[in-house]
């Protein structure tokens, strides 16, 4: 059972690491939008990629 003297401290280090990852996620704003990702995954397959064009400086409609 003496292996526990190694394992338990290792697990504490892991917990610390997980906590650090979580805090980083909060800092980079990953918890701001709780509903978006659920929708995003539904929309991104089999779509035509948007075409890159320079913006044409035309007014939206001719009068």
């Amino acid at each position: 059972m003496n292996i526990l003297y190694l394992l338990i401290p290792i697990s504490l280090v892991f917990v610390g690491f997980i906590a650090w990852i979580f805090l980083w996620a909060v800092k980079t704003g990953q918890f701001e939008d709780m509903e978006g990702p659920a929708h995003r995954i539904l929309m991104d397959d089999d779509m035509e990629p948007p075409r890159r064009e320079p913006p044409e400086a035309k007014p939206p409609a001719q009068s």
């Binding site: 401290p9 504490l12 918890f31 939008d33 509903e35 539904l42 939206p60």
Partner: protein, 825 residues
């Protein structure tokens, strides 16, 4: 059968032949705007939008001079307030800004906007938050300007407003992030501590050697440290505050319990004996924090509905510093305006502040405030409201109020007030909690003293158990959580409460009084019949349109719309008599349009029954009769039935003629329907009802019925699609879904029931648990578990009020489709 526009779903007017080409097929469009927007979307490779969308967007409006207005956003002093520059960007300046997007109705809109923005060269990233509709855009200022980005958003039919993250927003964000961090640490800690506690529980018949036992305890200690000294800090701060104010709050026993349990556990760990309670400590910190976090989120969602409003005040304005000399114009940031400045507001622009017109003649879209999307006429001397939209022609406005003095800011404050005001029940609960805590501390001291005499070794643990097991937090959590959850749910449905007592009073309401026009009916009158006695129909319409120019009543709007093809006439001077009509002089002759009584014609009017009759007359007598009808809102009858099933008495008060009312009341099934009521009559009637003990809920439109709304115990204003709060109403129905009202009553009653259930549970629990702990039957870990479960139960019970989760972005309801824009006059 008429065709519907492929883009916005509105019916295509006869004679317009705009088409949209998609995948080799042609689809109809209702106007040039929709055609342009749809074609832009398709040509840029985002045609999947039409496949993905779940709701229809608004009709795309074509505004003139857009580019000039947008260019204002490139000015450095305008950008000062909402654009951040990043230091040391790679090649050139990198800037970042937050934008609010208007017009988003479903998830596909967000997808579309993100893709469209990301494809612009120079845009480094564009992220849109589904829940709040805020976009964060980063761009390289050397390659693309902010105005082009805003233009791109307009091209696909949406509006983007730069958004000044006020300090309050920032504060809230920080608060929320801190709360999440605390919650996460507590959650992580409690789970890990549980991992180490389980072997200790399972192995207490000697299979675990002492040194391993000690190892587990130390590990638990280390894991509990951050929970106690970081996550539990709010409790200690709260208890300290209460102590300084010499008041007993709910944080006091919690803080005491945590401190004592932790101290005792540390002592036991260091001395190798006794019991440790790290699992209890961490678990109940976690549960309590979870409850508070949910409460905070629910409250924030409730408030979000109106906050977007204030951001609609434009960032830039065109000031005329040398007024009345119009030659000098300077562009300034709206925040730099002062009362007394004069600004020029062109068509399609919003007013940067509250003020008064000094020159010009135009019409303004005030749907923000009044719910009327029909234009309101403005001439010199008439006030305008910051954030509303100028439509027809340029106006010079003298600034009267800016910033937080404006009407819009006042509205936001109203909503804040609603959330801050605690209803009676919550205040009572707070007081009871205070007494409870004092009593608890006394009991704990008594228990400690008694046990010290009887059996000193157990005294400490029993006292800790007593402190920890009691759950005054059920009192403190029960009512607020229930209320904020219910308010949040109703806000998501479109029923916004602006006062704290609204929900509670709605639950107790015994009588519901409805206004007719604009409440039970759509308020959109249409001209159904004309009978002309003299002259031609076109002439009659032209005269009426001239007289009704600038009037806000729905009847006036309907008459103006019917007369759009008539040649315009001018009527000056005009005299308005509310409830009766308008009098004016056209080409030197005096005309009147209004009720039959007003134009002095007695006897039966020749039009069909059930229509509202308006007559046009000059000095010689009647010229024509107009019959207008408006339609009942969908589900009006269902609403009436549901309310009756809920045991509410129903009344209908209207200013319309009793004959018109009869048919309507019969259709709806309301027996008490009174017509011909002026505002004073309605007020008197409500007072009479209240004298017999009735609790009256009044629904109406806020503008005309303000005194009656104030008199009723709870008032509900119905706004069609506008996100605004009316000062006199306790609740605002943001959409035109009448069924929300009955839902509101049901939710309100359920909330009261659940609060009572929670209080009853809290009482029962404490009455049984505290004596059990005092007598030594409850060990601290059981106490911790009991307290946590009790809190959790209370919070979960309150969360039952949240109702079904909506998938689309909360909290705005789907705005009803606006009618196609009227041709500019």
């Amino acid at each position: 059968m008429s065709l519907n526009c492929f883009h916005c779903g509105e019916p295509v007017p006869n004679g317009s032949d705009y088409t949209i080409r998609l995948h080799e097929e042609s689809h109809p469009a209702c106007c040039r705007g929709c055609q342009a927007v749809a074609q832009t979307i398709i040509d840029s490779g985002n045609a999947d939008y039409y496949r993905l969308r779940t709701d229809l967007p608004r009709t795309a409006e074509v505004a003139l001079d857009e580019l000039r207005q947008l260019k204002l956003y490139d000015l450095p002093e305008v950008q000062e307030s909402f654009v951040q520059r990043e230091e040391g960007g790679a090649d050139g300046e990198v800037r970042e800004a937050s934008l609010i997007l208007e017009g988003i109705v479903c998830a596909a809109c967000v997808w579309l906007n993100e893709r469209h923005l990301q494809r612009l060269p120079g845009v480094l990233s564009a992220e849109i938050n589904f829940s709040t509709r805020r976009a964060r855009v980063r761009w390289n200022n050397r390659v693309i300007q902010l105005s082009s980005i805003l233009q791109a958003v307009r091209e696909i039919g949406y509006h983007a407003h730069p958004f000044d993250t006020s300090r309050q927003e920032e504060l809230f964000r920080k608060e929320r992030n801190t709360a999440i961090r605390r919650l996460a640490i507590a959650g992580l800690g409690s789970m890990q501590v549980m991992m180490y506690a389980v072997p200790i529980y399972l192995a207490d018949d000697g299979t675990m050697t002492d040194d391993i036992h000690a190892l587990m305890r130390f590990a638990s200690l280390i894991l509990t440290l951050p929970v106690v000294f970081y996550s539990a800090v709010p409790f200690f701060q709260g208890a300290w505050r209460d102590l300084k104010l010499k008041r007993a709050g709910m944080d006091t026993p919690v803080a005491l319990g945590i401190a004592l349990a932790f101290a005792a556990s540390v002592y036991a760990t260091l001395t190798g004996g006794g019991e440790v309670y790290y699992d209890s400590v961490t678990m109940f910190v976690f549960f309590l924090l979870a409850g508070r976090f949910l409460e905070m989120s629910a409250r924030k969602k409730s408030a979000e509905a109106a906050e977007s409003l204030v951001k609609l005040i434009p960032a830039a304005a065109l000031r005329l510093p040398a007024w009345p000399d119009r030659s000098q114009e300077e562009t300034v940031a709206a925040v730099r305006l002062s009362p007394g400045d004069h600004v020029l507001v062109g068509p399609g622009e919003s007013f940067p502040a509250d003020g008064c017109v000094v020159e010009g003649d135009s019409s303004v879209d005030e749907s923000l405030l009044t719910g009327e999307s029909r234009p309101v006429g403005k001439h010199p001397g008439i006030a305008v409201i910051g954030g509303t939209l100028n439509l027809a022609s340029p106006l010079v406005v003298r600034v009267d109020r800016i910033g937080s003095d404006t009407v819009l800011s006042g509205i936001v404050r109203l909503l804040d007030r609603a959330l801050a005001e605690k209803p009676r029940l919550a205040l009572a609960a707070d007081r009871v909690a205070g007494w409870f805590v004092v009593g608890l501390l006394l009991i704990a001291s008594a228990v400690a003293a008694i046990w010290y005499v009887v059996d000193p070794s157990r005294a400490f643990w029993i006292t800790v158990s007593v402190l920890v097991v009691s759950c005054p937090c059920a009192l403190g959590l029960a009512a607020p959580t229930a209320l904020t959850t219910a308010l949040g749910r109703l806000t998501r449905s479109g029923l916004l409460a602006t006062r704290g007592h609204a929900l509670e009073t709605l639950a107790r309401a015994t009588d519901f009084v409805f206004d007719k026009t604009g409440t039970l009916t759509t308020g959109e009158f249409r001209l159904r019949e004309i009978q002309v006695l003299r002259g031609s129909e076109a002439e009659a319409l032209a005269l009426v349109a001239a007289l009704e120019q600038g009037a806000t009543h729905p009847i006036a709007s309907a008459l103006r719309e019917a007369a759009t093809d008539a040649p315009p006439r001018v009527a000056r001077p005009l005299r308005y008599l509310p409830g009766q009509g308008v009098e004016g002089v056209i080409d030197g002759r005096l005309y009147r349009v209004g009720t039959p009584a007003f134009i002095s014609v007695a006897g039966e009017t020749p039009l069909s029954a059930g229509l509202t009759v308006v007559g046009l007359a000059d000095e010689q007598g009647a010229i024509a009769w107009f019959g207008l009808g408006d339609e009942l809102r969908p589900h009006a009858r269902d609403l009436v039935d549901e309310l009756r099933a809920l045991g509410v008495r129903l009344h209908l008060f209207s200013g319309d003629r009793p004959e018109n009312l009869r048919a309507l009341a019969a259709r709806l099934g309301i027996e008490d329907a009174r017509g011909g009521m002026l505002p004073e009559d309605k007020l008197a009637a409500v007072k009479t009802m209240q004298a017999t003990g009735a609790i009256v809920a009044m629904t109406g439109d806020g503008v005309n019925d303000a005194p009656v709304l104030a008199q009723a115990q709870v008032s509900i204003a119905i706004d069609q699609g506008a996100e605004a709060a009316q000062a006199a109403a306790d609740m605002v129905l943001l959409s035109s879904e009448l069924m929300r009202l009955s839902e509101g009553v049901r939710v309100a009653r359920r909330t009261q029931r659940i609060i009572r259930q929670n209080l009853a549970w809290s009482l029962a629990y404490n009455i049984s648990a505290v004596p059990a702990a005092a007598m030594g039957y409850v060990t601290p870990w059981m106490a911790g578990l009991g307290m946590s479960l009790s809190s959790l139960l209370v919070v979960l019970n309150a969360l039952r009020l949240a109702g079904p989760r909506r998938t689309a972005a909360a909290p705005d309801p789907v705005p009803p489709l606006r009618p196609a824009p009227a041709r500019t006059s």
